[in-house]
Symmetry: C2
């Protein structure tokens, strides 16, 4: 939405608990038709939806009309401290978030507190935020509903594995770019090959 | 900072109450030397500082070393409900925020709650957010310290005047651009003048 200064007539209603996370990444509670005019200003390319329930008809219609892709990761919204946050599902959702081809993207669950807060917290760990800052942000959105289970999960979530996987992709990407460059230079300056 | 995936060694510590407001606009509480490594990742061009107190030596040094401009608007941090939020000062700070030449910019006061929250709230009104969403965001950062005086100010703050002023600038800008184009075309295609 940038800094577009709107006209006076139509007030915009962001979804509950809406916020910008990073350039191209937004978070919120469940949006409904009241929020659609606001969502239009974000020019979304995709939505990461973290609940198992079927997406409502009118929301699906909105997505279809605006060519927005829906990625659903069905995570149960439970208060039960013995039910673990599903690590693999969070990791998959995180990979999707990190892929700028999906930006701008909106992450949402129901209240934008627990499932969304956990996923954003994992993203912050990827960005090397210290744990107390990750918790501070989580709590700002969860308020009095903050859950110790989510915070335990965030503390234990190991980003080194995913980081290695991403480095692998970047390395392969650069390697192929480099090979192309070397190949190009090859015909022009034969001597350069050894320095690459 | 985008989505740079940091190395594992140095954990980053964002300032208290840090958040992205919009592309190129951040907010937080008072940063100190612990937060400097994190602030570096934002590539700030300027800081909007909302307290009357002199900026600390080590912060000034950090700004100098990173070529970051400091804009200070000394607003008293008072709980007294009979002391009004200074409308003209907020308006001047808002004009500065809206000028993308100052981006990326960090707004901060002491706790990132009242003065910062009020300025961000005025920005949201400029963006045509409905008042209840402006309040929701203000309260998310102020927590139990939310002040009715700030919320009254936000409700009464009239953006139409500033909007007219901005439209004026944009109009003059386009007019001058146009005049320049006409002037250029003038010598090449005399007939075009009438159609401009």
């Amino acid at each position: 939405m940038g800094l577009i200064i709107e006209g006076e007539e139509d007030l915009l209603v962001p979804p509950f608990n809406f916020s910008m996370v990073e350039r191209g990444i937004y978070r919120s509670g469940f949006p409904n038709s009241v929020n659609f005019a606001f969502l239009e200003t974000l020019n979304l390319k995709s939505i990461v939806y973290l609940c198992p329930e079927t997406y409502p008809e009118e929301n699906s219609e909105f997505l279809k009309n605006h060519d927005i892709k829906l990625f659903q990761f069905g995570i149960e919204g439970t208060k039960d401290p013995y039910v673990n946050v599903p690590k693999d599902t969070i990791t998959e959702a995180l990979k999707l978030l990190l892929d700028v081809r999906n930006h701008p993207v909106l992450i949402h669950c129901k209240r934008g507190k627990h499932r969304t807060g956990t996923l954003v917290g994992c993203l912050r760990k990827m960005q090397n935020w210290c744990l107390s800052s990750v918790f501070e942000e989580y709590q700002r959105f969860a308020g009095s509903k903050a859950r110790v289970t989510d915070m335990h999960f965030l503390e234990r979530f190991d980003v080194s594995c995913l980081r290695q996987c991403l480095y692998g992709i970047i390395y392969r990407y650069h390697a192929s770019q480099n090979r192309r460059l070397v190949y190009k230079e090859d015909s022009l300056h034969q001597k350069r090959i050894t320095s690459n």
